[in-house]
């Protein structure tokens, strides 16, 4: 089997690697670069746990050959937070308790991050469609959708963008008020 010498930029750092033809980008990230934040849930492009950004677009890294990523810019979940500081999107996940087991989370964050870049004011429906390729078995998705809505509001606020006409629909309601931490 042929080996290929490729150059790929991962989370801002350039790497030169020798990869066999049949290695996937997912295997390259996890096994060659020890970037284990990106997960293997199915190896078939169905679950989305392996989602990363390739040249700014979310793809299932299990469906991309490492050699196909030659020359590409890759961003994984490890590359989202800025020097340990959570992004507004990640903060929103904290506030909404949108993480349980955490296995789907890296892929979800990448998909959501990309959504907000291309569509700063997504509707609830647009968020759901953007996340249809990210399976989650724990949360039931509602907190994730709410977190993305909250993040959308904040990111656009930070960027000085005008607020959208509709505030976004909250999908889950609770009849008790909660004390979300704090002394």
């Amino acid at each position: 089997m042929t080996m290929h010498s490729i150059t790929v930029t991962v989370n801002g750092g350039r790497e030169r690697l020798d990869v066999p033809s049949n290695m996937t980008l997912l295997q390259l990230l996890r096994e060659k670069l020890a970037l284990t934040g990106t997960k293997n849930g199915c190896s078939a492009g169905e679950c989305g746990a392996c989602t990363i950004l390739m040249n700014d677009e979310p793809v299932n890294s299990c469906m991309v050959l490492a050699v196909e990523a030659d020359g590409a810019e890759i961003v994984t979940v490890e590359g989202l937070a800025d020097d340990g500081q959570l992004t507004p999107l990640q903060e929103a996940f904290v506030e909404h308790n949108a993480v349980q087991c955490g296995f789907c989370t890296p892929g979800v964050l990448i998909s959501a991050h990309a959504l907000l870049k291309r569509n700063p004011h997504p509707t609830e429906e647009e968020i759901k469609l953007a996340l249809v390729g990210n399976l989650c078995r724990c949360t039931g998705y509602l907190r994730i959708i709410q977190a993305v809505q909250t993040a959308a509001g904040r990111v656009s606020q930070q960027a000085g963008l005008p607020r959208p006409a509709s505030g976004g629909v909250g999908a889950a309601s609770a009849s008790i008020s909660q004390d979300k931490g704090g002394a």
Binding site: T2, T24, Q27, A130
Partner: protein, 294 residues
């Protein structure tokens, strides 16, 4: 046998010039396969359904990812254009919105960044979401061979499940769409087990425009996932050309469309349900585009 954990061994070759492709295909015969998006191919390789020794990546050949529109000649989409690229291209959205809608319905956003229009069509799957739209919009498949280029109309392209009119050594380079009749409207309706993201249990593309028929309109109906090939529902189209548009005509056309379908029972749905859904989706599609046409 269950699927492998990873891809089996093969050699990856990136074609850098068109003429290399038929040469490689001839040299390796059955052992070589063309690689576009890979979203079907890699799954089938893991499952052991195909075992190519050579994958020839054709995505980087000139024009394979170009989309161009000309007011006289129409739309040309490079075969390696991804579904998302098709769906968001301003010329596709402006002039061929049905195609954009069909491309958007495939799988997930992530997969649409890899899956290509050419790949979707050349797999010859009866369930290909872009096939009904390609059929009703009069798409033509452009195939390259060493002796030159040839074009096949989409409705001569699909021959059977997994079988197309592509010959050994040929490469699909583009899909061309003619300028559409003025005042047209189209809709792609898809039913799956999930509200989105699934393969189609039944897919119906409905396309209509004012024309010199008895009814004053011409409709085209394309069906996916309900026959050995994606196909046009011609009897339904004849009904719509002959009788005045309205609920009664649409219901009759939907019946004819249902009769044109010859689905199978499989793990996703029964033939009976698929047929009934052809009728239901055709009726909905016709009502929807009639709203736009009238």
């Amino acid at each position: 046998m269950l699927a492998r954990p990873g891809l089996p061994s093969f050699d990856y070759v990136r074609a850098s010039a068109l003429y290399e492709v038929p040469r490689l295909l001839e040299e390796h015969g059955e052992a070589a396969r063309l690689l576009m998006g890979g979203t079907d191919l890699f799954v089938r390789m893991r499952d052991g359904f195909v075992s190519p020794q050579i994958l020839v990546d054709v995505k980087h050949l000139p024009s394979m990812r170009d989309v161009s529109y000309d007011e006289q000649t129409g739309l040309t989409i490079g075969a390696a254009t991804t579904m998302n690229e098709v769906a968001r291209h301003p010329d596709v959205q402006a002039h061929y919105p049905l195609l954009a809608e069909a491309a958007s319905s495939v799988a997930s956003y992530q997969l649409r960044n890899r899956a290509t229009l050419g790949g979707n069509l050349c797999n010859g799957s009866p369930a290909a979401d872009t096939a009904p739209a390609t059929l009703v919009l009069g798409g033509r498949i452009v195939l390259y061979r060493p002796t030159g280029e040839r074009e096949i109309p989409a409705d001569e392209f699909f021959l059977g499940p997994g079988a197309t009119a592509m010959q050994a050594g040929e490469l699909m380079t583009a899909i061309r769409f003619p300028i559409l009749p003025p005042g047209s409207a189209g809709k792609y309706l898809k039913l799956g087990r999930n509200k989105a993201g699934d393969l189609a249990i039944a897919g119906v593309a409905v396309f209509g425009f004012p024309d010199g028929t008895a009814s004053g309109y011409r409709f085209r109906i394309g069906l996916a996932s309900v026959a050995p090939v994606p196909l046009r529902a011609r009897e339904a189209e004849e009904v719509l050309a002959a009788s005045p548009p309205g609920e009664e005509t649409f219901a009759l056309a939907a019946e004819r469309a249902m009769e044109a379908a010859s689905p199978i029972d499989d793990v996703r749905a029964s033939a009976a349900y698929r047929k009934a859904m052809v009728r239901a989706l055709t009726l909905r599609g016709l009502r929807e585009i009639w709203r736009q046409l009238s």
